[in-house]
């Protein structure tokens, strides 16, 4: 609960700071936002950005959690260490490079962007799922076995709930990075808020730059806050209290 409040505080604080910045840039930014020709474009780019983020996160979560769970099953457990290592290696590849490589194999546009972001987001999610489940105290699993639970029930009722906090952290980290990396997707022709940021940079138009940078930042902070909220829903009270 405290973490939730802290995060809410952060979002509000950030909005306040950025609002001051916006007011300082009043002549540029507000003019841009109220320009009837530009405003719908900005909204469209925002929606495009959300689209890329949502799809890639959806795929990444499903694939990442499943992969993470699979590696912890009896037969594959010995590969767990190796997998962690490979995932660690994968995370050293810069986000821009993953986008660029997807472009050289899949072409220009939103498809390669979603693909690249999915791959990039799978890593933190899979790694945390793996770490979370392996960290479940073996006594709890034994207790489950003792109660006669089949492996599926142990997974659903013991392992996943106990690993949930860690898995959610992985999700949160992946989401925030995803939003930031989606801003780079402009470079391979996928649009999004990066369009405004890059245009602002290359033409030295601060109003465009802020029109892109501020929403992206707010989106990232908001997503961070939302993830914490999600934690409230998904992590059982007993575990939360013990944190």
């Amino acid at each position: 609960m405290t973490t939730l409040l802290i995060k809410l505080y952060r979002v509000i604080l950030a909005i306040a700071i950025l609002a001051v910045g916006v007011i300082a840039e009043r002549t540029g930014l507000i003019e841009l936002l109220s320009d009837p020709f530009e405003y719908p474009v900005i909204i469209e780019l925002f929606i495009q950005h959300l689209y890329i983020v949502t799809f890639s996160m959806a795929f990444a979560t499903v694939i990442g959690v499943t992969a993470g769970i699979l590696i912890t099953r009896q037969r594959l457990r010995k590969f767990a260490g190796l997998c962690m290592y490979i995932i660690g290696l994968g995370q050293t590849i810069p986000s821009l490079a993953v986008l660029a490589l997807a472009m050289s194999f899949l072409g220009i546009g939103t498809k390669p962007a979603v693909f690249a972001l999915t791959i990039y987001s799978i890593l933190p999610i899979a790694r945390n799922t793996l770490a979370g489940i392996t960290a479940v105290p073996p006594e709890l699993i034994d207790a489950g076995k003792g109660m006669g639970m089949p492996p599926i029930r142990i997974l659903m009722e013991v392992e996943i709930p106990n690993a949930m906090t860690v898995i959610l952290t992985g999700f949160r980290v992946a989401l925030v990075i995803n939003i930031g990396t989606a801003a780079l997707a402009y470079v391979i022709g996928a649009g999004g808020l990066g369009d405004l940021i890059f245009t602002g940079i290359s033409l030295m138009q601060t109003d465009k730059l802020l029109a892109g940078a501020i929403p992206v930042t707010l989106l990232a902070l908001f997503a961070d806050f939302l993830s914490e909220l999600l934690g409230l829903l998904l992590v059982s009270k007993g575990l939360r209290l013990s944190v």
């Binding site: 072409g107 220009i108 022709g189 369009d195 245009t199 290359s202 033409l203 030295m204």
Partner: protein, 303 residues
Amino acid sequence: MKVFVRLSVCLIVISAISLSGAAVAGEKSLIVGGKNYTEQLLLPELASILLRQEGFDVTLKTGVGSVIARKSLENAQFDLYYEYTGTAYTLYYKQKDIKIMTVPEKVYDWVKKADSEMSLVWLDPVKFNNTYTLMMRKVEAEKLGIKSISDLGIYVTKNPDKLIFALDSEFWERPDGFKGIMKTYNFKLPSKQVKKMSVGLTYQALQKGLVNSAMGFATDGRIAAFGFMNLEDDKSFFPVYNPVPVVRKEILDTYPEIRAILKPIADHLTTEEMQQLNKAVDIDHKNVHNVAMAWLKSKNLIK
């Protein structure tokens, strides 16, 4: 504790010095800037090779947009870079006189005079015209009967949802860019039909059929190689774009020989040759430095 503080202070001081080291000019050292497409990697490379031959220590800073390049020159972060006459005329000075901007000598004289008041000197112009062009695949253009930008305008007005156009954000925003074209040629392409991407990708997008028309540069080797055609600018919307080395007056006064060193590029580089050089880098994937060196050697400019 004190040791720690002293150490940190030392570290910060060292870093500050190394950072500012970039700004401290050494003996005969120049910063040559360039924009973010292949031609603007080649021209500075050609210039650097010649300058280094005469004992200059050249630092290359390429890969930025036009406005940034211009501001960098004005703020002495660049000493020299190649700017196009038309770009300076329309983008920096916001002029529109067709009688001046479509005549190479007139637009050159105009910007040269205007910039002399900013202590910027325009040296000898290179003769080719690297104008923006609107490109289409030859096959599709023939099928749709589009030969000029006016034809394109008529087509778009009749079928607003059929045409998709690829460009980069700079071309969208500039007065000599797409918005200006739509105004002059009297058509409006809905923003959904405009795909923005980084400048080099427009050729790929057109080639792969992702778009029907794209923005390009006239001297790009890919236009011929990919089977594109340039739509005729029948209303003379675009100015002439001759590349010219623009140098800060201070620097030229200190090293007047720069003019003579760079003149051979202006004298010898033709449109076809620039297209060849661009092609070597973009399509044959050759190294920029090697391509530049090879051309200079072929003109006996290497000692």
